[in-house]
């Protein structure tokens, strides 16, 4: 009635070896993880700093995500790692739509200095984070 454990284990191991997941599944799984992580960061940050004042959680996810993407790309990760962590997790963790809507909303309600600071700050901090990732990879002996 029930298959013996060794047969089941062999079948499982066999399927694990031969399994060749579609890039869409790898990226999608990473995307689900990234979206949940971003939601979690948003909850943590907005409970401390109200997002109506300054969209700090979007800056946080964009800078952290850019750093992580820089790290996996510059460290020369393999194709499926790039798909899972780069395109999937980091791609979904960071967001452009929230950033652009929040920037326009700051600007139209008269907080023009904050809007410009947000637009420039996201870019400068994300580029600095990629620079930091580059420095880390450069000094780490592989």
């Amino acid at each position: 009635m029930s298959a013996s454990p060794t047969i089941v284990a062999d079948a499982l191991a066999g399927s694990l070896v031969t399994v060749d997941p579609d890039p869409a599944h790898i990226v999608g799984s990473g995307g689900a993880i990234g979206a949940l992580l971003r939601y979690w960061v948003g909850q943590q940050v907005s409970s401390r700093v109200p997002s109506s004042q300054f969209p700090l959680s979007t800056v946080a996810v964009n800078v952290i995500g850019s750093f992580a993407l820089g790290l996996v790309v510059l460290a020369g990760a393999g194709e499926s790692t790039l798909q899972l962590v780069g395109t999937g997790i980091c791609g979904s963790f960071t967001t452009f739509s929230s950033f652009s809507v929040e920037t326009v909303r700051l600007y139209e309600r008269g907080d023009r200095a904050r809007a410009i600071a947000n637009a420039a700050g996201n870019l400068v901090c994300s580029l600095a984070a990629i620079g930091l990732a580059w420095a880390l990879v450069a000094v780490t002996p592989l």
Partner: protein, 135 residues
Amino acid sequence: MAADHPLVRLETLALIAVGGFAGSNLRLFAMELFADVPSIVLVNAVGSTVLGFLVYEAEYTDHIGSRTRTVFATGFLSSLTTYSTFALQTAFAAGPLAIGGIVVANYGLGFAGVLMGRALARRLETPQPTGGETA
């Protein structure tokens, strides 16, 4: 209706995860169809337009449920659009002209998309025929 019931929270998380799966896949599809830089500009502009519409629709007409909006925006749209790939493309761009072009294309079309979404949401705003309710 307790919004913080464990099952409600689990439902929200599940919907965000599904949205993240679908959004990142659509971005992958765009990246396979178009070159690296234009594909990111495209998803960022489209995602900004739809999110702009959703946010201003909430302000003007508010037909869409707020939880649906949160889940769709947080799960799908924010996963469709991306900042990290854009930042990396900017960092690796060859020369100031390419850097400027990538930033101007993403920021310009992203902001223009939000304004387009806002204009679309305003078009849906129709005066209440009864006039009984004021917001």
